[in-house]
Each structure stands twice: as C-alpha cells, then as structure tokens.
Symmetry: C2
Subunit: 380 residues, 2 copies
C-alpha cells in the first residue's frame, strides 16, 4: 500500500499519514503548491525545497496546449522538463477545459474544444487524459471528470455524474492496459468524487469509484461557489465511504480555516492557488487574516511580514515590500509568494504535529478563532 | 586612499584595483548590477551574493519620487531599506530627470520638473542631489550633472559643461560643509566628466574636476547614440588626465566587447541595464553573442543556457526556459537575468584575473573576436 496511516485524532477524523510515490515520500496532511504551466508562479525549485514543498501540482490542460506533448515527450516528462525531482500530481485537464477553453463540446467520447491561446481545435477524453498524464510522468494522475457548476439541478448533476463514472471506467481500463510507470515505479491514479451538493449522488460517486479501485480519492467540484457549510457537509458524507488506508485529496482548496476544517473531516491533501495568486495582488497571509501591503498603513512599518515568516523573507520590511508592490517590482511578489507558501506549508506541518501529539482539537480551535476570513480587510 | 592599484597591464591601460568603501571592498574592474527602484530587477539579494555582486546601483531620481525621502529617512537609508549590506553607488538623478521627467526646466539653480508617475512638481539641484544621496547613505554618490544629448553642437556642449562645472563646485561645497557619513565611514563622491564628443571640452572637464578633488571620476554622456569609435576616443582623451590612484567609472555601459575595450583604456567600473533588461525580453548573453530564447530553434534544445552558466541556472534547459518565456512565467526572466548577470560578473572577474596574470592582451583579443555584436541575431 502506498499510503500509511500513522496516527488519528480522537476528537475528529483528522489523520496523520505518509504517502509513498515513485519520486519520494509525502507526509500528510500536506499542502501542494500549484505549478500550472510547469512552474510554481515566480518560484525557483530551490526555493520550493527551502519551503519544504513535498509535492507540487502540474496542470494537464495547460501543458497539453503549451508546450505540447511532443516537447514533453522529448524532454522525458515533466520532472526533467521543470528540473523538479520530487513528487508531482497532475490534474486531468477537465476543470480547465470547462473553465478556460472556448467552444467546448462535451460528448460521450470526451471533450472537444478550441484552446484559449490560439483557438486550435483539440480533444481530451478519458484515455487522452490518462495518456497525457503518463507522458508527463506525474507520480499521481487524476481521473478525467466533469466538474458541475454551482448551482446545479439534481437531474443535471446526476447526468453529469453518470458520465464521469463511465469515464472513470474507461480510465480504469486504460490504466490496466498500459500500466504507466514513472521514476522507476507505478504511476498512481486518484478517482474524483463528484455529485454537486446532493448527498445521494456524492455517496453513489464515492461507492462506485471505490468499487473500481483506485490508489486514492479526491473530492472535486468544491469551492465553485457553494456555501462553506455545503463544502463541509460534502466532505462529511464522502470521507467515511473512502478506504481509511488510502489518501484523500480536496481539490482546489482553500482558505486557512477551510483547510484545517477539512483536515478535521479526514482530508489529507490540498492544493490552492491563493498563496501565489494573492501575492501577485500584494496580499500576505497572517495568522489573523489577510494583509494588503498596498494599504498606506504599511508605508513606514519596518517590521517583517510576520515574526515566523520564512528565512528568505527576513529583513525585508513591510514598508520595503509595499514599495516593491507599488513599483511593480518582481521581488515584491516573490517575497509575498514565499511568505504565503511558507504560511500554508507551516499550517500543514503544524497540523501534522498536532495530530501526532494528540492536541489537534486545541490547534484547530486556535487557528480558526484567530483567523479573520474577511479577505484583505482594510487595516488601521 | 580608498583605491589601491594592484596591477597594470603592459599591453594596454587596463588596471587591476581595489576600492575600499564603508560597506566593503570592491575588486576592480567590476560590473555593477543596476537596482533602479531599490531592487535589481527580479533578483533576491541572496541571489546577487551568489552571483558575487560586489556593489549595486541605486537610482536617486526613482527613489526620490517613490517611496520618497521621508520613508527613506525613516528606514535609515537604502542599505537597510533594501536589505543589502554590501556597497551601493547612487547616481545623481540628473540623467533620469532629463530622460524621464515631464516639463523639465533646467535653470542655474538646478532642474524643475514634474515627476513621471503623477506629475507632481519637483526640484533637484546640486545640493538636493547631494542631500538625497546622503539620506540614501550610498557608499559612492555621483555629482549632479547635465548629460548632453547626441548629436550636440560644440557651443551647446560647452554651455552645458560650464553649468555642470558650476554645479560640481556647489556639490563640492555641500560635501565639505556636511561631510556625509555612511556605514561608519565617509561617503565617497565621484565627479562626472562631460563635454560630448569634443576633445577640448572633455579634457577641460576632466582637468577642472580633478582640480576640485573628488574621490573618483566617471565618464558620463557615453552610449547616448554616438558611434562606438567616439566612445573609445573619449575614454582615451580622458583617462590619462585622471589620477592613477583613483577609481574610474564609465556610466551606463555597455556590450561585453565595449566593456573589455574600456577596461583596456583604463576604466575600472561599469554598470549596465542590458543583462536584466534583455532577460525580460527573453535574450541571453553567450560568448558568441546574444541568444533569443523565443526562437523556435530552441524548442527541443535540452542543453543548459551555457556550459558555464551559473549553478542556479543548471538543469534548466533552453527548451524549458523558452516555454517559460512564451508562457510569460517569471521563472523564465529570473533564470535569464541570473545567467546574464553571471555572464557580466564572470567577464569582469576574468578580466581581473587576466590583468593579474599578465595575459590581458590575449583575453581581450579572444573575447572581442568571439563575440558577435549583432543583437539577438536570428539563429539556425
């Protein structure tokens, strides 16, 4: 088994685990920085290692469109191409096809679309997605699914889920036939639970995927606009149906308290663009909420971003970083990205420690109580 | 004396020197990365140290306009603000006032202008420039001068030079009165030789500045459009008139062969925006000339940028960097900036070694012969 359960929290469903992949071990709960186009925005791989990033994401859709599979094949996969020797997880491409591509047509065979760069007609179906991800050589490949929008009528959600399940079967068949390898080991494949906000659909999705047997399971279609209570409820419906000895991944999430609350519901893996996306907007995460460095109150604040900021950010004052942001200097977003990724990595690391030490309940209460979720609230 | 002459080249006027400043020692000939707005574009100070950057530049005009002197004063100067503990040289602000500011009016007292950001009316004169640079706390401050355009009639050039010389006297008086300190030592001040392409004016400028007595001397008004032969001729007129035991700085230069040819004419210090500016355009320096990473011929070229690229750039192929440039990912320009700054730093370091070892003539011939000066010539 690639996933080892090391400890569980008596007060919740939180778990401390260890996922072994061909390119290395991942301690969970884990936060995974997003490397959309084969690079975590503004970061050097050496910095990601200094941040203790255990595993990063790659986006199948983006890499399929550019640089394309011919170059990726010639490079020998994404690890070699991006000069990253630790684990990589790739998504299926489905989400971006639905959110970015033009003139997309979803059919039984898969999805026809025009790419967002130059409108070239392209196709991704379950087998294509598996094949692309095999070429990318990611350690963990995600199944090709359809992600329902929010809100979504029950009937539509069911129709979409049934298609996703038929696609999952085709992915399963492709994997069994091709047995893709990477880094001298077997590529792992995670199923994605869909079903919108409907309990019966979510449970059906989880049960059928588990019956097909994958290496791990993700919850998809979260954070698409639904209330936070729905997000938590969905996790509560689904996780009890997933095998305890396999990893669970909540896709595309979330704010710091959401991450902690989902850990409490038995989720092991997270990815989120917020740390790097908000950095480009001048926003830093703190234990008390978000800090917008553009605000005038930071102009003469010569303190570091936080006392526990990353060593690479020490000695750079809020006043200086504010100046860099105002002057649109790259070092500004680099420093905030480093700080934010460190913030998320530390949160996951502290969660791991809290579960190990049996004090997750206190940790959870403290983090959630301290954090103000108003995004970039005006300060002073 | 702050400048020590360690070795001279028998075949040319090249010199190997050592400049001692309050924030540390600078081995010359030296290339100084440009940190216009208090940051060398896209670089982290740790990277600059990994590149062996001995001294960086700051732009008085830019820092005066933003963040402004109130913040700079509160920060305790540019070293503390930018988290850089090695030497800094600041220019006088004159060049940017003339090239960037709007509605500028040059009068006897100095220059009135509207800043390029929001049009606020501002003033910089010789005393203001000295005062700003004292507040910035640079190790080397440049005198406030007027830089003539090219071409420039002899009469105009003479009128401008006379103003620059009167301004130099006022700078001298301000320095003698205020004796600005930085890093526990005396700030140094370099005079700037002007006079366009006219031998009599250039020589007059050099003689009068030397008579006033400064800590070092720069040649200004180069690379403003004049033919390269003029640039070299000007250096040949001026350097013999400058004291051998003081540093000489050619402002805003140049291509790799220009740098070597000016070293051969007795110049010790260089600054140039090309390494970082061209990086943002996808262009890397090589010993054979410039390489435009956007060109399709690099799409499947999995070699490093160069065999002697910087360790921080190793393992990143031309194909990958091309992808990053095409996808407008920051890591692309970071890697090319690192490579280009390393290229310039290595060139200066090799020049130092060649002068020490008595083989500068061979080094000079080899570098100049190999380098093709066609900017970003199409390859393949």
């Amino acid at each position: 088994m690639s996933f080892e359960l090391l400890a569980t929290d008596p007060s919740s469903s939180a778990r401390r685990g260890r996922l072994t992949t061909p390119h290395g071990v991942v301690e969970t709960p884990v936060f995974m920085p997003v490397g959309t186009q084969g690079t975590v925005k503004a970061m050097h791989p050496d910095e990601l290692k200094a941040l203790n990033s255990q595993i990063i994401l790659g986006n199948t859709y983006h890499l399929f469109v550019r640089p394309g599979m011919e170059i990726m094949q010639a490079a020998g996969g994404l690890h070699a191409f991006a000069n990253w020797d630790r684990p990589i997880l790739t998504d299926s491409g489905g989400f971006q096809v639905f959110s970015l591509a033009k003139l997309r047509k979803i059919k039984e065979e898969g999805c026809h679309f025009q790419n967002h760069l130059d409108g070239t007609p392209m196709f991704i179906g379950p087998e294509t997605s598996m094949e692309i991800q095999a070429t990318l050589g990611s350690d963990i490949a995600m199944l090709f699914d359809e992600c329902t929008p929010y809100p979504c009528e029950a009937k539509e959600a069911e129709k979409s889920l049934d298609l996703t399940l038929r696609w999952a079967k085709r992915c399963r068949a492709w994997i069994d036939e091709h047995k893709p390898q990477t880094g001298g080991g077997a590529q792992q494949h995670f199923g994605i639970v869909q079903g919108s906000v409907y309990e019966d659909l979510r449970k059906k999705s989880a049960r059928e995927l588990v019956a097909m047997g994958f290496d791990g399971y993700a919850i998809g279609g979260l954070s698409v606009g639904e209330p936070e209570e729905d997000m938590m409820r969905i996790a509560e419906w689904v996780t009890p149906l997933l095998p305890a000895n396999q990893a669970r991944y909540a896709m595309g999430l979330g704010t710091p308290p959401q991450m902690i609350e989902l850990i409490a519901r038995g989720i092991d893996m997270f990815d989120c663009v917020l740390p790097t996306r908000l950095a480009r907007n001048g926003t830093a995460f703190t234990h008390e909420g978000m800090m917008n460095l553009r605000n005038a109150c930071h102009a003469k604040d010569f303190r570091d971003l936080a006392e526990d900021t990353h060593p690479l950010c020490r000695g750079f004052s809020r006043a200086y970083i504010r100046h860099l942001v105002q002057a649109q200097e790259i070092l500004g977003l680099r420093l905030i990205s480093l700080h934010n990724l460190h913030f998320y990595a530390s949160l996951a690391s502290r969660a791991r420690q809290a579960i190990e030490q049996g004090c997750f309940a206190e940790f959870r209460a403290e983090v959630v109580a301290k954090y103000t979720s108003h995004p970039a609230a005006p300060e002073s």
